[in-house]
Subunit: 174 residues, 3 copies
């Protein structure tokens, strides 16, 4: 595979080590709350992790590498996320199942006036009731965080997934 | 799925950010030792991670969500854990296999006089000799830690598993 | 399984808690860069994470437990790693696929004049294009880090894998 030439390409880290440690901890705290909310199915709380005009996308690594970050989910602004969350909650047509995020280690890339850029790989494990657990999604959060009233919020989160996913799964935020 | 209404329901975190970071590190250190001991099969050391009268349980997420935290493993006190560990060690009837815990990120929920409440999701990976590795268990530690002589010990650990597990697997601590 | 009696056996940690936390963060930063480089297929950058005369090995847990740490990959020195990386890059014969490392929590074992000893379990997830993601490797980094010009480098990394791996997969560094 050739080196990627897109907005989500690897950029060497530019943050001093001690600052990375502090930011990684802060992001870990953010992400554990984010995942706890999604894993218990509380979709209507999910938009509160974003700024009012944040961008939320889900896109495949293949498209991203081709610099065509087009995915089946594109939300611009918290209101659009909220609409989607409500729609999903009310038209749940899935078989009962449990979801669990397993977070890998966050890579802190940069910190500047417009926010903190970081990536966190994760696995999403799905368990159908009385069934085995399976690896539903291997993906990575590509994030830009901003600080609002002292706490982190997502200004942009792009979920770049390695796993091929079918359109009907995509409606669910990850 | 409706919001859970049980003792293991989600509670918003109440600990200041800097304190969360310190506690998460301390819990990470605890858990890496705990998992290293279990993953090398040293079951008789396992009870030493608990207080004398600690509670250890394994329960399914389904039962827990129904507020029926009944599982196939229930140990009250280190002596009961020790008996179980010795029994398993001496009657090993499993095919040779390797176990490996992969810990997700710890969520620190609260810190009070009666201890530190935290959750850590994890995967337990099983490898039969000369076979592939499989996802044996997707689960989460629901813990209450206390500090004894300056170091953390578990006052209560409930392993809440998403994965359906068979009775004969349950004898093994996770 | 009997307790292992080899160089990679479990040794109780000897580092004070606050120092463990600082080292774990530093190692996490190192490993996120290491894995980002491998996961984007940049094999030629890979040797730069090692000292000039470092040791890199891949060995099965079974062989390691038998105190026969013989594996299919053995590189002594950065030059040998570089040769291997170039050879693999130029003779890529695999089907297109994505690799993703999911790092578990680092266990910091000791810090002494000759380096920092630590272990980090990880999963390597493979995704064939337009296919599902599968658990390719469950393994653990057994590392000795040294500090060069203020930053960490690997003086020795042994990848000890639970998963049985075929010879033709082994050529790829993990």
């Amino acid at each position: 595979m050739n080196p990627p030439v897109n907005a989500f390409a690897h950029h060497p880290g530019t943050v001093p080590a001690a600052r990375i440690a502090a930011l990684r901890e802060e992001i870990a705290t953010f992400n554990t709350e984010y995942c706890a909310v999604l894993d218990r199915g509380d979709l209507e709380t999910w938009p509160l992790f974003f700024t009012e005009d944040a961008l939320y996308r889900i896109s495949s690594r293949e498209n991203t590498d081709l610099n065509m970050p087009v995915g089946l989910v594109y939300c611009e602004g918290r209101a659009m996320m909220h609409d989607r969350a409500v729609a999903i909650s009310r038209t749940q047509m899935f078989a009962p199942r449990y979801m669990m995020h397993i977070l890998g280690t966050t890579r802190v890339e940069s910190e500047a006036a417009d926010g903190i850029v970081a990536q966190t790989p994760f696995l999403l494990i799905q368990t159908l009731v009385e069934g085995p657990s399976t690896l539903h999604l291997a993906a990575c959060y590509h994030d830009r965080f901003v600080r609002v009233d002292g706490r982190l919020l997502l200004a942009a989160r792009t979920v770049i997934h390695d796993t091929e996913i079918l359109a009907n799964d995509l409606v669910h935020p990850a």
